[in-house]
Each structure stands twice: as structure tokens, then as C-alpha cells.
């Protein structure tokens, strides 16, 4: 609950500009939601309302689509996003232990954001780096051949 969404006029204008373009094409909702996720970092209700009005579909439908897909979120994420790959190749090489260690050390449940808004911990699907398994990413930087021992070190560097 730590992080806050920042809905500025500038960002809203950017969203309108994008929708203006997508409205001309068939199936505009998915590209619009991708843009909204990118612009705001999440798609909270006020943003869903804007999209509903502009594309002339009910907010219920928009909300249904937003919550269906794992890539979209309705709540903002923490400053640092730690994702541990739970794809098969990583799992059989022990990535669950790495995820548990992060959860334990950061005191945050999987899929949630820490009190101070510093960390969001996620379990992610295969990122296709199976040759480097087990892997985890911190803010999109990939850590290859991960281990439980690496967890403490990584957290220390991030907290600095």
C-alpha cells in the first residue's frame, strides 16, 4: 500500500492522444490498456473511467479485461520490483527457495508491496532465460544462476 499513483494532466493528455490513434483501428482496447499501464504504471479506476468514456464501452467490461490479464495491475507497484522466475527450468533448479528467501527477508508476501513502498515481490512466468536458470530480475535486470545466498546481498545493495 506504500506506493501512490500519480495521475497528472500531462499523463491524461498522453493517454487521450494515444486513444485518438487507436480508436481508428479495430480492437482498440488492448493497445490502449498497454499504453495506460506504461503511462501510469498501473490502471486504477479513475483511468479505467477515462478509457470507458472515450472508447464508449462500459467500465465493467474494461475492469473485467484489466483484471483478467497478469500484465495489467490496478494498484501501483513498489520502487523496486523483484521478480523470481517460476518457469519449469528455474523451478526444478530451486527458484522456489529463492522466492521464499526474498519473501522472508523483505517481509512481504508474493504479489504484494512492502509497507515502505520500496519493494514489490513477484513470481513470474518463464522469461525464456532457461539456460541461465534459476534466474530472478530486479527492475528488469537479470540475475543469472541465482541462489539463496545471493538474496541477502541483492537486498543490501538495493536498500543503499
Amino acid at each position: 500500500m506504500g506506493a501512490k499513483v500519480n495521475i497528472t494532466d500531462e499523463k491524461v493528455d498522453e493517454l487521450y492522444a494515444v486513444m485518438e490513434k487507436y480508436k481508428q483501428e479495430p480492437g482498440p482496447l488492448m493497445p490502449t490498456l498497454h499504453a495506460a499501464q506504461r503511462i501510469f504504471g498501473c490502471i486504477p479506476l479513475p483511468v479505467q473511467k477515462i478509457i470507458a468514456n472515450e472508447l464508449d464501452v462500459s467500465i465493467a467490461r474494461i475492469n473485467g479485461v484489466v483484471t483478467f490479464y497478469g500484465h495489467f495491475s490496478v494498484e501501483p507497484k513498489g520502487e523496486n520490483i523483484v521478480s523470481v522466475c517460476l518457469g519449469t527450468a528455474c523451478y526444478v533448479k530451486g527458484s522456489q527457495g529463492i522466492l521464499d528467501a526474498f519473501s522472508h527477508d523483505l517481509k512481504v508476501e508474493v504479489g504484494e508491496t512492502s509497507e515502505d513502498g520500496l519493494f514489490t515481490l513477484e513470481a513470474t512466468r518463464c522469461i525464456g532465460a532457461c539456460g541461465l536458470a534459476p534466474v530472478f530480475t530486479v527492475n528488469d535486470e537479470v540475475y543469472a544462476n541465482g541462489s539463496v545466498q545471493m538474496v541477502k546481498k541483492v537486498i543490501q545493495t538495493l536498500k543503499k
Binding site: Y69, F72, L132
Partner: protein, 602 residues
């Protein structure tokens, strides 16, 4: 001017994560320093396939393969090899022969045993340069099809080739095209399914990153055959490199006139657009994918009507996956008879597999259908590392099953794998050794399907959830013998009554492990022991007399549960131990045991 030498640097996702971009910059600056810039060219290619040891660099002529190259190694390679023609022995790939004699990439068993059709250009050309694709006969097939063949002839050739869908189903591609051709409509669509969601499979990503034009060309051929002028590529948002390269490739193809209006002077026009997936595994199912492009929740639709009759925006649509498309230009260049001559009677051609898990050569490989599992695992894959015993190979991801060592000599094709209770799937191949618990593996896959079930039909939504509850109970040591029977009957019911492929195959990992590894289930349920030492409620870590007192385990323990003096036998305090296995990995003499026999002694 012709370049005297080429330096190919692997720019696949995994090598990029190991800094291959910095490598290229360093190569360029070193080359310029020695004023060799005029006759040496560096190229960032797609994936080479040997992902575990990256980043890789190949130098032509000579096809010298370097692996694990670091930025600080570059000056030596440039000075010694590029300038003076003497390869740097210490950096040569030595995975196979410990002697330094080996250099040539194609001599390596890993490559020599492969037959690369779909991956023909991956790791060979610069994917961002359309001219390199054209130099390898790119867009020639499209030209031939548009100028010399009727759509009916194209479909006949496809049917003759025997190509079957590489996305998992194995449906004959030519037949699929024929259905779409026969549907009458003003507007039709071609969709490329690049929503590769199967955990542990990344062949589609490799093709899109390493050879995007082959997919664009094939989609245009398909458009001509079925009568469509618009194509969509539905690609995972998790593949940013592939998305960027596709965007670039589409632009290049438009600029050059191989995509767009009146291609090759004909009256056929074709355009391609990208659509990003948003992290839903079920969107790999073609009707769910179509729903997603339309802006709906990605839920499968009832078939019939099939997409060939009523697909995207209600129009006839043909959906093929990336690897299927990547095969198609070659079929029209070399002929259906040539393609049919490769592979087995009912599964012609090759298949790309992503080899992962407990295997020496993790990576990507393409083999003729009919190659045996043993050849893939032990010859191409290099066997199981760390002197561990092979236990099972899992194919087909969450839809597939486990294959045991008794069946390793089975030739791989669509029908044989189904016969073994597994399936081809998109081509993930995960190797498991004695340290993997099969009950836990089944639970892992089921957790995945429960998470990804779209919730539309009850058997899949509720049934898989109940199966997972039972498996969680078993792994926690609270399972009963009746649970095993319930798992079986529930699994068969879900298979028979689910709406789409996801539900119809979701119980497979459980059913196949129940069949082949019933003893492990019994150990969990009856003896309350996890033989592999994975399920933490059912295992104990103890240190045996083999301990040499090196203190490595104590230093690696994240919770400080291990005590002992230097050169003295160490002990684990079970009340502190979190059973993470870090000590077992660290121990140099294999003195950490999860064997129930050892618990008593300790």
C-alpha cells in the same frame, strides 16, 4: 567492398543478458583502434542455441567458436585472431573435447546432429538487416508463389509437405489453409500465434529475434493462399527484444516493397500489424487469442464454428504459430518432396526443442523428427551434469507428461509422444534427475494451470483447483491412499469435459506421474517421506559421516542452522533448518543426505 572477416556475436535474449551488446561495442572500438574497420564487420545475430555458456562469438572464416567471452577478452581476440590470424586457445568453446583442438562450430556434436530449417538463419544473419535475409534466399519463396503459383497450388504443396502445426496440436497446416480458403468472405485474416506461454520453451522467441523476416514472408504466402490481405502477430509483452525486432523488420519489408500493396507486381497486397499479449497463458489457444485481439477477456470460444469459418472480428481466420511459419518459405524453395523426405512418415520435417533443467547443454536445438529422446538428451544435450541419475524428461509443458528412462529409445514425433502419455506441445523439454520430486513437479504444473485457467468452464476452473488441493495435502504429509484414486478419476473427468485444450490437457502432468512414479506418491502418502528431499514437510537434512569438516555448509546456510568445528563433523539443528538445500549444493563430498535411512542414524 567485401569484408575479409566477420565477427558474429550472439544477440539472443540470454546472451544479451550476459552483456553481448557491450561486447559488440568493444569489438568495434578495438577494431577501429587497429584500423581494421574496412575489412572486418561485426554482426549481432539471433540465438546460437548453446545458451548456458554464453555469450558466444563466432569468427568467420574458419567458424571459430568462442564461449563465455568477457569484455576484457576482446582486445586479445582482435589483436591475436583478427589481426594476426591466430585463434585465442583459452577462450575456445571446449564443452565437448577437453583438448583444445576443436574450433569449428558445425563440427560440434551439438550442431552436427541438428538439422536447422526453422532456425536456418538464427545465429547466422543480422536479423535487423533485410538484405542479409534476402542474401539467404529470403522473399524468393514469396516471389515464386505470387508469380508462378495459384492459391490452390500453394495449398496443395503445403498439404503434400505434410507440415503439421508446431504450436502443440500437430494439425496439418495445408488442411487448415484449405478450410480458410474455402470460406467465402470479403475480408479474411492471417494470425501468427507468438504467445509462447509454455514455461521452459523459448523457440518462438529465438525465431522472432533471430530471423523475423522468415515469419513475415510466410504470413504473406499464407495470406495469398487463403485470400487475406491483413495479418496480425500476437506476441507476448514479456519478449521486448522480439517485439522491437519485429517492428523494425516490418518497417524494412514495407520500405522494400515486400510487404504492402501489389507485391511483386501482382494484384496481391498484404500488411502485418503487431498486437501485444498481456500475460495470459490461455491466449495461446487460438479462439482465446482472437478474443484478446478483439479487446475481450482472453477466453476460449466454442468450436465449431472454427476460426477458419468465423474468426477474428467474425471473419474467416487462419492461425499458425511462429515455428510453423518459419518452416514455410523453405518448403516453397526446396519443394514439398524434399521436406517430406525429412523426419518420419506421419511427422515430416524437424522440430525445435528448448532443452532445460538438469542437462549439460541447456539451449535450443532443431532435430529431424524421428530422432530418439536418448540421442537428444545424451548426445546433443551432453547428458546429466554432476554425476546425477536421470529420472524423467517432461515434454509438452503444463499440457504434457513425464517420460521415463524405459522409453528413451522412442523416436520423437507427434503420435509417439501422445502414445507415451505426453505430447509434443510447443517443444519445451525439461530434464529431471534424482533430486527432483515428481509429486512436487506435478503440483508445480497444476499450480500453473489453476493460475492460468480462464474460469469459463467448470471442469477446468473447479476441477484443477480440487486436484491442486489434494496435491498440496499430499506434499504436506496429509495425503491418504484414497486421494490417489480421486486424483485419477477427477483428472480423467476434467480431460473429457473441459472446453478448450488447456483444460483437456491440464491433468496430464498428474496422470502421467501417477502412472510412472506411483512409488513416489506412495512414499508421500503411506511412509510420509519425500524420497527426493524436496517436500519440506516430509524431509530432513542430516550430515553423514562422510563430512570432512570443511565448514562450507555452515557458511552457506542462510539461517545459521549448522554447527561444527573445522575438520570436525557438522550437525544441522532441525528446529532452525528451513530445508532450502543450500548446504547440499555447497557440500563438496555429498555428505548432506535427505535419505530417510540416514535420519535415524543422525
Amino acid at each position: 567492398m567485401l569484408d575479409r572477416m566477420h565477427i558474429l556475436i550472439c544477440g539472443g535474449t540470454e546472451c544479451k543478458e550476459s552483456n553481448s551488446l557491450e561486447l559488440r561495442d568493444k569489438f568495434n572500438s578495438e577494431i577501429n583502434k587497429l584500423a581494421l574497420g574496412d575489412d572486418v564487420k561485426t554482426i549481432l545475430t539471433g540465438c546460437f542455441g548453446l545458451c548456458a555458456l554464453g555469450p558466444h562469438v563466432v569468427v568467420y572464416p574458419g567458424e571459430t567458436l568462442y564461449s563465455g567471452v568477457k569484455v576484457e577478452d576482446v582486445p586479445q581476440i582482435v589483436e591475436q585472431h583478427i589481426k594476426n590470424g591466430k585463434p585465442v586457445e583459452r577462450l575456445l568453446y571446449k564443452g565437448e573435447f577437453n583438448r583444445n583442438k576443436f574450433r569449428n562450430r558445425s563440427e560440434l556434436t551439438f550442431f552436427a546432429r541438428q538439422k536447422r530449417i526453422a532456425l536456418r538463419n538464427c545465429g547466422v544473419i543480422d536479423p535487423l538487416n533485410i538484405n542479409e535475409y534476402i542474401a539467404r534466399q529470403g522473399y524468393e519463396a514469396l516471389g515464386k508463389v505470387l508469380t508462378k503459383m495459384t492459391p490452390e497450388e500453394v495449398i496443395d504443396e503445403m498439404k503434400k509437405s505434410g507440415l503439421r502445426g508446431r504450436g502443440g496440436g500437430g494439425f496439418p497446416t495445408g488442411l487448415k489453409w484449405e478450410f480458410a480458403r474455402k470460406s467465402v468472405s470479403e475480408q479474411k485474416f492471417v494470425i501468427c500465434n507468438a504467445d509462447e506461454g509454455d514455461p521452459g520453451a523459448f523457440m518462438d522467441r529465438a525465431v522472432l529475434e533471430g530471423d523475423p523476416h522468415s515469419v513475415l514472408e510466410a504470413m504473406a504466402i499464407c495470406g495469398y493462399a487463403i485470400g487475406a490481405d491483413t495479418g496480425y502477430i500476437y506476441i507476448r509483452a514479456e519478449y521486448p527484444v522480439a517485439v522491437a525486432r519485429l517492428e523494425e523488420a516490418i518497417q524494412q519489408a514495407k520500405d522494400l516493397g515486400v510487404l504492402g500493396d501489389n507485391l511483386f507486381g501482382s494484384d496481391f497486397s498484404f500488411n502485418i500489424e503487431l498486437r501485444l499479449g498481456a500475460g495470459a497463458f490461455v491466449c495461446g489457444e487460438e479462439t482465446a487469442l482472437i478474443a484478446s485481439i478483439e479487446g475481450e477477456r482472453g477466453m476460449p470460444r466454442k468450436k465449431p464454428p472454427f476460426p477458419a469459418v468465423k474468426g477474428l472480428f467474425g471473419k474467416p481466420t487462419n492461425v499458425n504459430n511462429v515455428e510453423t511459419f518459419a518452416n514455410i518459405p523453405v518448403i516453397f524453395l526446396k519443394g514439398a518432396d524434399w521436406f517430406k523426405s525429412i523426419g518420419t512418415e506421419k511427422s515430416s520435417g524437424t522440430k525445435v526443442f528448448a532443452l532445460g533443467g538438469k542437462i549439460a547443454n541447456t539451449g535450443l536445438l532443431e532435430i529431424p523428427m524421428g530422432t530418439t529422446l536418448r540421442e537428444v538428451i545424451y548426445e546433443i544435450g551432453g547428458g546429466i551434469p554432476n554425476k546425477r541419475e536421470f529420472k524423467a524428461v517432461q515434454t509438452g509443458g503444463p499440457s504434457g507428461g513425464c517420460i521415463t528412462k524405459e522409453s528413451l529409445d522412442t523416436p520423437i514425433d507427434f503420435d509417439n509422444l501422445i502414445g507415451l502419455g505426453s505430447m509434443m506441445g510447443s517443444g519445451g523439454m525439461i530434464i529431471m534427475d534424482e533430486d527432483n520430486c515428481m509429486v512436487d513437479v506435478a503440483r508445480f504444473y497444476l499450480e500453473f494451470t489453476v493460475d492460468e485457467s480462464c474460469g469459463k468452464c467448470t471442469p477446468c476452473r473447479e476441477g484443477t483447483k480440487r486436484m491442486l488441493d489434494i496435491l498440496n495435502r499430499i506434499c504436506a504429509g496429509q495425503g491418504t491412499l484414497e486421494d490417489l484414486d480421486v486424483l485419477e478419476s477427477l483428472g480423467n473427468m476434467i480431460k473429457d469435459s473441459s472446453l478448450c485444450g488447456l483444460g483437456q490437457t491440464a491433468p496430464n502432468p498428474v496422470l502421467s506421474t501417477l502412472k510412472h512414479f506411483r512409488d513416489e506418491y506412495l512414499a508421500h502418502v503411506v511412509d510420509k517421506v519425500c524420497p527426493a528431499g524436496v517436500c519440506s514437510h516430509l524431509t530432513n537434512y542430516v550430515i553423514t559421516d562422510a563430512c570432512i569438516g570443511c565448514t562450507k555448509c555452515a557458511r552457506n546456510c542462510p539461517v545459521g542452522a549448522i554447527e561444527g568445528t573445522v575438520k570436525g563433523k557438522h550437525t544441522i539443528d532441525p528446529s532452525i533448518c528451513v530445508k532450502c538445500g543450500a548446504c547440499k549444493t555447497a557440500c563438496p563430498v555429498n555428505a548432506i543426505s535427505t535419505d530417510p535411512e540416514d535420519w535415524k542414524v543422525a
